[in-house]
Symmetry: C2
Subunit: 575 residues, 2 copies
């Protein structure tokens, strides 16, 4: 079955299934979302107006049995940053869409009235139905109700109350194989979906299957690829302790942003570390290893139960644990898990919101360390859209502006994640130059700065960081196009069999003959497409800078500042 573009117009409540333009054919995932957004969205449009489009695309390898290929990309002009945006997650939607032959959903326009809609996509096409029962409901209720409504398993993509309220930090939830939730977290894409009055999209793949041009070659390549993933020591650490394995590593490095980025180490780090979490999970009969999508061989997710051994959350990530934990000084893992659960249910970015809360703590809205207060604000303010809830829900930069705070860790209005750029300078280049605002996943320089993956670059020196971030961002843009989880990068950087196997997978899937160089070219061209959109939207190199306080406030324990010259940062784009 030839892949098609599913175009859904919410102004007209109509849809069409279109052939894929030739220039889009080689793209998938982020490459495709960015290509379509750049082609069809006016860069200066209001992100929540009818001219923005939400593009949802499985990766090039999604729907196949290739290991770790179940990520779904979503893209639009971001209401948080004003830049082009792609964010991706696991769950079942990527594989189901791919099996339906849906190369991308393009959700455009917006209704002229206040009605809400649910969309179903199946082999019979697209239906758009008015929805009222689920409006105002949290994601868990949405998933439960939609599953009860359906006679068979469907994929679900949904927004919670945050998306309905068009909060700039609203995310989009994707149902995972266990009917839990994965999040397309960053950049406020949930607000874009909400602005189009779409509460959910269900996906029924029926008997659809992905055609593989050379099944035998595919099988061989997948075997080599999966082996490389499984064998890498970082994969093992991720499987055992989850991404939260990073707490102790980053704390040790002195780059764990603590108390709203005023310290580089957190006294309570042991209490929230991956090692501790692992023990708590085991004690309470949870699951320390769990895949966010079928076919994952790393299994960094987990099932975290509460003290009564009832399910509390899954996909309990380092970034969230760091943000509610070290950055807000909360050293109680159960409070953090409750906050994670609430943010999943509200449908809001679990990085942006606690980073914003730490700024609010600095303004005196609540005390640092008050984990119950964090949960109360999420439940009583953010979920209900009160004044304070709207401030927090609009993200870190708005909190800074509303309360007149000067230590506001954002780049292009997006909250900076779990690695302080003063002590880990490579990631600072990524924050500064990323086409999507501060985002560690765009070029995870922690690899060479701290993990000795793909070589080693001194984290405290300015030397070599630009090149490191550049190479990583190019590779990441390509990986994000395949539907692969970014965690294949560790093996790809260290194991010489990994990347060739990935290229072989793509070639076997489509019957083509890409080389490693083609993949690098793809990554470069995606970054340039994204940058051109941002330039047309008004961004310049002056936006590729970190906030003033990183240069003026030294970070303990290394007592370092961010002193990367602007001209050095700008060399990032020399390719």
């Amino acid at each position: 079955m030839a892949d098609k573009i599913y175009r859904i117009n919410m102004s007209e409540l109509s849809s069409s299934i279109e052939d894929v333009p030739e220039s889009w054919a080689g793209h998938g995932g982020r490459g495709l979302t960015s290509t379509i957004v750049a082609a069809e969205v006016p860069p200066t449009c209001h992100p929540l107006g009818p001219n923005n489009k939400l593009v949802i695309a499985p990766g090039l390898l999604s729907g196949t049995v290739a290991a770790n290929s179940g990520r779904i990309s979503m893209g639009a002009k971001s209401p948080l940053t004003g830049t082009i945006k792609e964010s991706n997650a696991g769950g079942t939607a990527a594989q189901l869409l791919a099996r339906l032959g849906c190369k991308a959903i393009v959700l455009e326009g917006q209704p002229g009235d206040d009605k809400w809609y649910g969309i179903n996509i199946s082999a019979d096409g697209v239906t758009i139905a008015e929805e009222s029962e689920l409006i105002g409901k949290g994601n868990f209720a949405v998933v439960e109700t939609l599953e009860a409504r359906a006679d068979r398993k469907k994929g679900i993509i949904a927004v919670g109350p945050a998306g309905e309220m068009k909060m700039a930090a609203a995310n989009i939830s994707v149902k995972d194989p266990d009917s839990h939730i994965r999040s397309v977290g960053r950049g406020g894409l949930g607000a874009v979906m909400g602005s189009k009055k779409v509460k959910f999209i269900t996906i029924d793949a029926g008997e659809g299957k992905v055609d593989v041009a050379d099944p035998e070659a595919f099988k061989l390549a997948n075997r080599a690829f999966a082996k490389a993933l499984i064998d890498h020591p970082v994969s093992k650490g991720l499987g055992q302790y989850g991404t939260d394995v990073m707490v102790n590593i980053i704390n040790e490095s002195g780059g764990l942003p603590t108390r709203n980025f005023s310290l580089g180490q957190f006294d309570g780090h042991e209490k929230i570390s991956g090692e501790t979490m692992h023990d708590v999970i085991e004690e309470r009969g949870g699951k320390p290893k769990h895949g966010c999508h079928q076919g994952c061989v790393i299994q960094c997710s987990q099932i975290y139960n509460d003290a009564k051994k009832n399910y509390k959350t899954s996909g309990f990530e380092y970034e969230t644990i760091w943000a509610v934990g070290a950055d807000c000084c909360v050293d109680n893992l159960d409070h953090i898990a409750e906050a994670d659960h609430l943010m999943d249910d509200i449908g809001i970015d679990s990085i942006e919101i606690p980073v914003a809360l730490a700024v609010a703590m600095e303004a005196g809205v609540l005390e640092f360390g008050d984990g119950e207060g964090v949960c109360r604000i999420l439940r009583e303010e953010v979920a209900k859209g009160t004044g304070l809830g709207r401030i927090i829900g609009a993200g870190t930069a708005v909190v800074g502006k509303a309360f007149g705070v000067t230590r506001v860790p954002v780049v292009k209005n997006q909250g900076i994640p779990a690695y302080d750029p003063r002590a880990i300078k490579g990631i600072g280049i990524t924050y500064a130059t990323s086409t999507m605002g501060a985002d560690h996943t765009m070029g995870y320089a922690i690899t060479s700065n701290l993990l000795n993956v793909g070589g080693s670059v001194d984290p405290l020196s300015n030397e070599g960081q630009v090149e490191l971030s550049r190479n990583l961002q190019i590779a990441t843009a390509a990986i994000d196009s395949t539907g692969m989880c970014l965690f294949i990068a560790f093996a790809a950087l260290d194991d010489e069999t990994c990347l060739p196997a990935l290229v072989d997978l793509i070639n076997a899937r489509f019957g083509i003959n890409l080389t490693g160089d083609d993949v690098v070219s793809l990554g470069k061209s995606i970054l340039k497409t994204e940058k051109a959109f941002n330039e047309a939207a008004g961004f310049t190199k002056a936006d590729d800078r970190l906030p003033e306080f990183f240069s003026t406030e030294a970070l303990p324990p290394h007592n370092v500042v961010w002193d990367m010259p602007g001209e050095e940062i700008d060399k990032f784009w020399d390719f």
Copy 2:
């Protein structure tokens, strides 16, 4: 007495009185604030951090008997827009500072603790004293208390609760000759003063006097100048009906932004017009004519009493009446007067706040037309810094972001004032290109677009608007440097004796020989200084654009959109 720079460092709680550098000597008012900010403030600094500076400067002619020369300029990097900012007001401070020989106050640094301070400036120098009694108090209480404390009349510059809370729309209040309040309104300069923990500055001029180099020539020039002002028909209209004379004029033109910039005419315009206000004032024993500073011959201010004939507000401006009135659809002048009074007391911009409230109304926070609701939000939310109050206090753009509204009338994050750029295109060029965000006073194209002052340019055509705005912005930058009220511009544009008389005044004051061309050069160089600061802060021509909705939503009754090409706008800077 030679003029001096009074430098006050709030990090050290110290002050120094310095000679004026030669390159600053020819500057006053806005020319001086912008010159000093450009020279001493790092363009990328946080506006509320220690590296921003608040510069306060009387004009070149302030402190003399020259008609209408009592405006005081204040400048800094704006917390609202991120651009350089100057805003000016009447009151007594300009004349008192000039008589003290203070060419500018440079307020820099910020205390490391939470203490608040009051500053007194007199012939004996500067004193900085800790203040507690007045912290949290509104401007009226501040003025009353400070007057009670002093044994003689002093000038007062103060911030209200909004400035203390560092709200991005906080203004700075200046006491007028009747102990009422004039506002340095736009751009959030009150937050900068608040960030430096200065609640007020009192000025005691003692027996100080301004030296005039050629008193006889000065007297003659002032006579001609004052006559030109008095004789101009617009001056007469302003004296009779206040600036609110514009309501009917702009409504008639179809360019009165109504219901959050969705209509060009307001049904209730008669109820809030200058003509109606005049009658109400007379009925209630108020004062229809009143000067905001000594020496004003236009007297556009007034004393507006409530229904019980008690004082309610003064300086009750068209912009405020339009914003609470037409833009929020409130057709009750007493509600608008109460809102004006509250905003003066809270110390917050009476343009930005109602423009922000209209956006909040569109989001459903309160009903359009609910004047009591506006007052309640000001009193119960903004003044108290609740969540909603913080959103409103942060200005129009933040309200739009917090509530996900797409019709958000701002340029460079500053709320657009009382003239719709779709129907009055010259002012649209000013909004787009002003170095300070949307601001009608930067180049008041209403002159030729509607008032037949300085010629006539069709308001609905794109032709001639760039040149019109350019000439006005250059002239305005120069006028803002003299300490003159901008309303001298009407006479200056139409009466050929006016501008030469103004130049003669400056020459007689300083014993120099400027020509009209020198004044134009001064205006140009101020604009270029300001633009260079903004460019270094990261602004580009992409920021010189109006929001998308002006191009996509036609404005009744003319059903016109903003369709000025970007390249045309950019020609503004061809000088």
